[in-house]
C-alpha cells in the first residue's frame, strides 16, 4: 500500500472516535438548542423554534441570570485566590525557595482527588452535627460552633470556593514552580547585585519573566472554573436555594431533571461564547512565537 494512503488509514480510527464522541454530540446539541426539545414529549426534538430558547433564557428566566452571576463571581474568586496562593507557594517551593523536597510530593495529594470526592468530603466536614469543622470551631472559636455553613447562602458559596481553591492549588503550584525554574537564575542575581530589594526583584525581573506561564495558568483555571459542576453537585447541589447554582448545574437541572433538553442545549451553547474567547487566548499564549 502506498504511504500516502496508509497514513490516512492509520489515523482514521482516532478520527472516527473523535467524530462520534465529540463532534457529533456537539452538532446534535446545537441542533437541539433550536428545538422545543422536551424529553417527555415525543416529536418535540424535531420541533424547531428558532432562537426562542435563547430569548427565553435572556428575557424570562431570573434563574438563568442568577447562575450567570454565581458562575462569574465563583470564577473570579477561585481564579484569583488559587493563582495568588499557588504563586506564593511556588515561590517558597521553587529551586532556591525556602521549602522543598518532601513538601512538593505532599502537595500533589489534593489534586489527586476527584472533584466529586472533594465535594463529598467537604460536605461531611461542614456537617453541623458531626463535621470536622463543626467540632473544630466548637473548641477553637465557640461563637462559630453552631453555624450551619451549608445552609447559609453566603457561607455555602464561600465553602464551595474554598473547596475548589484547596483542590486546585497543588496543580497550579507545580506549573508555576516549573515556570519559576525556567527563569535564568543569573537575571535574578544580576538584579540583586544591581541594587534591587527582594520585592523589586520579584516585581521587575521574576514576574515579567513568569508572565507567559502565569497567563496560561489564569486562562486554564478560568476555563475549569467556568465549567465547574461535579464538586458543586456533590457539595451543595446548587443550594441553599440557588445560591451556589453555577451555569453547568443550571444546565444539568433543566436538561436532566426537568427534561427540557432543547432549552438546556441553548444555555450550554451560550456558555460556549466565553469559552471560545478563553480558548483563543490560551492558544495565543501557548503557541505564540518567542
Amino acid at each position: 500500500m502506498r504511504d500516502a494512503t496508509l497514513k490516512y488509514l492509520l489515523v482514521l480510527p482516532a478520527v472516527l472516535v473523535v467524530l462520534a464522541t465529540a463532534i457529533w454530540p456537539l452538532i446534535e446539541s446545537l441542533r437541539l438548542s433550536f428545538t422545543v426539545g422536551r424529553l417527555n414529549r415525543p416529536g418535540s426534538l424535531d420541533q424547531y423554534l428558532g432562537f426562542e430558547n435563547f430569548a427565553w433564557a435572556f428575557l424570562y428566566e431570573p434563574a438563568f441570570w442568577n447562575s450567570v452571576t454565581v458562575t462569574a463571581i465563583y470564577t473570579v474568586l477561585t481564579v484569583a485566590l488559587t493563582t495568588i496562593l499557588a504563586l506564593g507557594l511556588a515561590l517558597l517551593l521553587a529551586p532556591g525557595g525556602r521549602f522543598r523536597s518532601g513538601v512538593q510530593a505532599l502537595l500533589i495529594l489534593p489534586f489527586a482527588m476527584s472533584p466529586a470526592l472533594i465535594g463529598v468530603s467537604f460536605r461531611f466536614m461542614f456537617n453541623p452535627e458531626f463535621g470536622l469543622f463543626d467540632a473544630f470551631f466548637g473548641v477553637m472559636i465557640p461563637p462559630l460552633a453552631d453555624v450551619s455553613w451549608l445552609a447559609d447562602p453566603v457561607l455555602a458559596f464561600a465553602v464551595c470556593v474554598m473547596a475548589d481553591v484547596w483542590g486546585w492549588i497543588p496543580f497550579l503550584t507545580l506549573v508555576l514552580i516549573g515556570g519559576l525554574a525556567s527563569i535564568p537564575q543569573d537575571t535574578i542575581e544580576a538584579a540583586q547585585v544591581d541594587g534591587a530589594s527582594g520585592w523589586r526583584v520579584f516585581r521587575d525581573v521574576t514576574l515579567p519573566q513568569l508572565a507567559p506561564v502565569l497567563g496560561v495558568v489564569v486562562i486554564l483555571k478560568s476555563i475549569f472554573s467556568l465549567k465547574t459542576f461535579d464538586q458543586i453537585f456533590m457539595l451543595t447541589n446548587g443550594g441553599p436555594g440557588t445560591a451556589t447554582q453555577t451555569l453547568s448545574h443550571y444546565i444539568y437541572f433543566n436538561g436532566m431533571k426537568y427534561g427540557q433538553i432543547g432549552y438546556a442545549a441553548s444555555v450550554a451553547w451560550l456558555m460556549v461564547i466565553p469559552m471560545i474567547f478563553l480558548t483563543y487566548a490560551y492558544a495565543r499564549f501557548v503557541f505564540r512565537r518567542p
Partner: protein
Amino acid sequence: MAEVVLRNLTKRWGDFVGVDNQSLEIRDREFLVLLGPSGCGKTTTMRMIAGLEEPTGGEIWIGDRQVNDDLPKDRDVAMVFQNYGLYPHMTVYDNIAYPLKVRGTPRSEIRHRVEAAATKVELAQFLDRKPRALSGGQRQRVALARAIVRTPKVFLMDEPLSNLDAKLRVTMRAELKHLSRELMITTIYVTHDQIEAMTLADRVAVMKSGIIQQLGTPDEIYNNPANLFVAGFIGSPPMNLITGSIRDGMFVTSGGIRLVPVDSADRQEVVLGVRPDDVRVSEEGQGDIDVRIYAFENTGEATLLTVQWGHQRVIARGDRHLRKDQDDCVSISLMADHLHLFDPQSGVRIAS
C-alpha cells in the same frame, strides 16, 4: 573606590570544600584576576564577595566595612555574569538603566548616564532593542554598560568573555583592558583562560582546590611559578617538566642523560621545568643533546617541535621559518638561566 579584603574565607557544602580558609587583599583600583581550572573555587570566591553565596566562615571587607551580613544590593558592587544576566523583557536602555532606577536616580540623570555608558561600549544605536535581537558580543557590551553606568566600589566579572567566539574574545579583551584603565575601579575578574589573566591583570591569584596557589603579577607567575601546578597551568604550550636528579651541579634525567648545569645543591629527586620558548633548537650535533622529532607542528606564527628521547618528550618552540619533518634529528639545548626546579613530592619550587 575601595580595597577588598578577604580574611580566612571558607565555603563548604557538607563535606565538599569550595574555598578553603583563604585570605587575600585586593588593593584599591587594582585589577585582580582569579585564575584556575573549573571547580577551583574562583567563582565561589567572587560570588561570596557579591553576596550571592554565604561564606561558611571568614570575613569579607569592602573598603572599611565588613559586608558579610549585607545583602548584595547594599554592597555597592557591580557584576558582569558569564551568561550576561540581561533582563530579557527590557530594552537595552532599560537594562542599563536598571541599577540607577532602583536607586531612585532622577529620570534626566538616568538618561544622561545611560547614554554615556552606552557610548563608551559602542551601543548607542541599539538602545531600543531587546537583548534577544543582539549578537553575543553586543549582549556582553550591554552587561558591561550596566556595570559601569554607576560608579560602584568594586567590579566583579565572572568569566565575561567565555561565551564569545575566539575572535570576538580577543577584541573584547582589548576593549575591557582599555575600559578598565579608563575607569580605574577595583576589579575582580574570574577566568580559566590564562591569556585573559596574563593580559588583563595587575595581579593574578592562581587557585586550585579552593586554595590560592600563587599570588603575583603576571610576570612573577609566568617567570617564577611557585609550584608545579602553577608551572603547568600557565603557558601554552605548557612548561616541560622533566624528572631526574642533580649530581655535581648537573641535572641528570631519570634515563641517566646529563642534560644541563643547574645552580643547586645535589638532590636525589627533582623536577626540572623549562618553557618551550627556552628550549633552543639547532641542527644535529650543535646543541646539548641530539633528539628525534616526534611531531612537527607549524602554527604560522611559530613552529612547535615535540622531541623525544627514551620516554621523555619535550616541546620546543622553533623559529617560524624552521621546516622539519617527523623522525628528523635535531639538537636541543636548554637555556640555563631560565630553568625552574621543583620538589616532586610537595611540588614546591626549589630556590636556586
